[in-house]
Symmetry: D2
Subunit: 357 residues, 4 copies
């Protein structure tokens, strides 16, 4: 039995590098040799014990790599091919997938779906902060990487870019909309870029860190608001002449940002929520117009699947967006514990960390 | 100056019949002689002081009548014509209207919209529980009543039917959907009918009153659940084999029903909210899948305008729905105080009360 | 090698019953023992040589049956289970499927899709007018049949009902719409039912056969027009007071019906086209408003997949539609040549023929 | 009676400058003093007698100007205010407007809509190639011009930009789409820009004039194809690896470009048609996949109204698009006959001509 190195969850506070067997390949699977991966905010939730996973699980859901071995029923690929897989790995054959809720394809049992079931890598099955990762339903999930693109150029596709863009897409932004994006972490920055790419006339980016606001401006924000210096709700209402925004995107997962989104929304506007919340939410009656504001609140889990990945990579290849600047630090897999330390404490202006086995 | 009888708000607890001048007709207005109107749950909120309006305001927003006088700039109608107007009276010329948020057309000032502004009759201008009512922007709002339909047959169009149906429409119900409707008051009953009319395979109606559940079954509900006898969330999950519903419609305006809607929703499902809430709302983390359930929460204010009214009346005329059974009691305008007394205490199985001046 | 009986295409004019080997089961496949199937208008096109298929191909794409054997990679089913599969059998893993064009999932090669590729049974692979049929991508395509439903009750789901309903669905019919359906063959009848089920206030059914118009009225048509007796365009404009229809559904596949659809459409209306055309089409300038009518022309190929089948069966199970009356004749597989003779000549008021091996 | 100069249609081949009375102002109207206007391709159709209008009609539908006088029922504006009005002037109160077909609001009679009725200026009422123009339904149609924008900067909003952008909007372009735009006249160029603004990863512009292709590249086209040098269908299939495009936009109004759009469409793709056709159209069976390609053909007439104008001007103000380069020539109103001569012969690389009274 051959072994590989993998970052596994041991207990709250401890993700450590261990030796694990390289997994066997089932008929629909593919084994990917990971060449680059990264750490996500959700992984930090796992590290801190805020989001529970099984002890011994390999963490990570953003794989870039090379096909090492294909399952016996997998066609259309060749070993050695450069590929990525989305953070969310739909089966393609579940009822959830077939009725348009691909990201919610989890259980597949007769008794319905589990809300988190759609997210498998590093949640319900071993993830990709390892030398190898087993990709389920490979024909649905493996997306070939164009030769012209480097690993780091596509590293944001599996999760950050797919999630951030979906915040703009699901809100159905129209040409000329005014959009506010609350929080400019990696997902918020991609939401900012996605809003701009969708035709927003004005994108207003909110955060509390000057460095992130600077990056937001580079990604296309027309206005940036430092929430540590002023009340962003008042500032947005001032900027829009009291009209409010057509779309507000929540990209942090807190009561404060969720509520601020509601408060800046024009009647008939849309709150597009991307954040992973860790507490109950509270909707103030006034911010909700007592239920009479023709509002929409839409939550979205990162869309996955190879076609989604193909599209996102085509946007990068076209030069319409450059997410390279989001990789601020680089670590070897052997040093992933140090990477977690840096990332979880948000030190040194870190946005995303590239990890290479 | 000629006088008319009108039900006006005096102070919390008191809506009384008074003499008021028949209003002057501006160039875009029409004066309607009211032949039938009704009392809405919102009027009861006003009566109780829970929703504030100006003292002396005439209440009521569901007018059926005859054109008495047309404004100088109004064309396309004739005096004596039988018409209705929606509860919500869009101007047709506001930016809100022109960007698809007709029900939110209120202020029309440079400083944006007011959430409640779209509702004018009996809220910001005099309403129709009176002998006459002035209809603003008449060319947008007056809908001729087909000869074949009686006053009572179209009495639900201005508010109850338009609101209830919009709960189904805005949820984008698809053929084969499973839909739960929480609360079977007049609006909930119309939501039940609207869900059925939209192609739902299974409609589950929830209420605490046996009489209303019986009416719900007549309006098309496949299953009825008496929430006074069991936990409707558990019962709905049982009925759907644990799958949950595609769409849940809230038609009461309480925390309990709002939360129950979230708890029965399948991942990717839609909560369509029609209720007028009177308290802040609370979203339990689990019921919201921590923001990862691909849910949509959509609130809708009653759509108005003459084209909407034309469509609703065409549905009635086609025989696809019969709302006649919803008029359970009849009063003269002179006895409207007694009608309020009955309706606000929900006595005698009352659903809707027809008021005739 | 075990043999089975199968209806195969030999040459234009000849579909004959032959012995063929029972197919081997690949890892993603399932072998279905066919218990009931039927003949489609498209099969008649094949018979007549109007639509080319390979010689020796087994015809038929509407299977009801029992799982005989499951592929090695197939999970979630058991042998002996009653199932249907859609006429169109998407893979679930193609880029077409994953971008929402499941019915167009055909080739799966790097060089794109073939327009007809999505239809496989009896077109590019052996079909189901046989004792056994091999279902590709079984986990995507096998839909368990509820115990309460008989074979004949679900026999229309794979093609006729799925196609007909999709005509209404893709047109995005709204409550209160006026809809005209041109041609009341099996698909047109299902489009009529689907339009009604979608909330149309008025459905106008057009055909040249009195018997079919009678069935159309039973399926929910409010008006029927015998096109052999009058000009249906004039009649529809008369019925709608010159306004035209919101949606016109084409369910025959001829220039005449296509053009009539355009001519009855209101500005801003939608032509939903289901027919399989066999000639070029001609768009008269006036009927098309010179391109300025805000029209939509939408073509749809029968949606497939197990979730689609589940939904359609749930509609039947709910009692909202009864397609049993569409099976007008019954034949043994051994007599299928006689069935083709009857069906292709549209004798004896035939709508659909049930074939049982 | 005061007179003004106006360009009027006299007979095929002759549009001449004449003296006409300055129009009276009805209660819902506004009189605009025109400061800048332009000539459209449709005006050339009128000049040539290809599109019939009444003799003596003032031509022109793209007004930029100043409010000279407001109708008695018009509120919310002040005389002297800088405004534009869209080429299409919806009433706001017609049933067409109220059911979402604003551009089709024409007749307003009981007997339905006339396809061209939505276009009034220079078609059914006097247009704006004059010193003054009467704007109907002023509150719906007058959009204040931001101080920061010059006349020429907003001159494309009333027609060219609104139409071109709508080609992208109505096609529901998604982030990552591949879009082909056939013909790069002023509307095609705006469609190219609109496609890019909507998130297309790849925009392919087709024309036969090198100068226009150069402008297309400046407006955001990723590839340009000179149709005088190669077969654009073959070239587009080559560029997309045989896959075809997600959206093809027709911006010329000819059989050749319409058919080419169909031929480059992927299964499930959308043809968005903007051109004004002058002949019947022909749909080849193969290009239409015999009706089985899940295609959509959508035609769009220029959206109008003040909210549309506000949005378009906000896009210009945000700096996301610069249409200044499209004004290639400038004339005084007194010289408009010379301007027609230049424009109708497409001399000197003309794109658009600014006309100032």
């Amino acid at each position: 039995m051959t072994l590989m190195r993998a970052a596994v969850f041991v207990e709250p506070g401890r993700i450590v590098l261990e030796d694990k067997p390289i997994p066997d390949v089932g008929p629909l699977d593919a084994l990917m040799r990971v060449t680059t991966t990264t750490i996500c905010g959700t992984d930090v939730h796992i590290l801190k014990g805020e989001y529970p996973v099984a002890r011994g699980l390999t963490i990570g859901h953003e794989p870039v790599g090379v096909i090492e071995k294909l399952g016996s029923a997998v066609t259309g690929y060749r070993e050695g091919q450069r590929v990525i897989a989305g953070a969310i790995t739909p089966s393609g054959w579940s009822n959830a997938c077939l009725c348009g809720a691909c990201s919610q394809d989890g259980a597949g049992t007769a008794h319905g779906w589990k809300p988190m079931g759609g997210w498998k890598f590093g949640n319900t099955i071993d993830g990709c902060q390892a030398e190898y990762v087993l990709v389920p339903d490979a024909m649905v999930n493996l997306a070939p990487v164009p030769d012209a693109l480097s690993d780091e150029q596509v590293l944001m596709c599996p999760d950050i870019m797919s999630t951030g863009f979906s915040g703009a897409e699901r809100a159905e932004i129209r040409i000329g909309d005014v959009v506010a994006v609350f929080a400019q972490g990696p997902i918020g920055l991609c939401a900012t870029a996605g809003a701009k790419l969708s035709g927003a006339a004005v994108v207003i980016a909110v955060d509390r860190l000057a460095g992130r606001l600077q990056t937001a401006a580079q990604m296309g924000a027309d206005h940036v608001i430092d929430a540590s210096q002023c009340d962003p709700v008042e500032e947005i209402l001032r900027l829009t002449g009291g009209r409010g925004v057509d779309v507000a995107i929540e990209a942090l997962g807190t009561q404060q940002t969720f509520e601020a989104c509601l408060r800046v929304l024009r009647p008939g506007g849309t709150l597009s929520s991307l954040g992973v919340y860790s507490t109950d939410l509270h909707i103030p009656l006034g911010a909700f117009a007592a239920g009479l504001g023709d509002h929409r609140i839409i939550t979205t889990l990162c869309p996955g699947g190879k076609e989604r990945m193909r599209r996102l990579m085509s946007v990068i290849e076209s030069g319409r967006i450059d997410l390279g600047a989001m990789v601020t630090h680089r670590y070897k897999l052997d040093d992933i514990e140090a990477a977690y330390d840096l990332f979880s404490h948000q030190r040194d202006g870190v946005l995303k960390v590239a990890i290479t086995p």
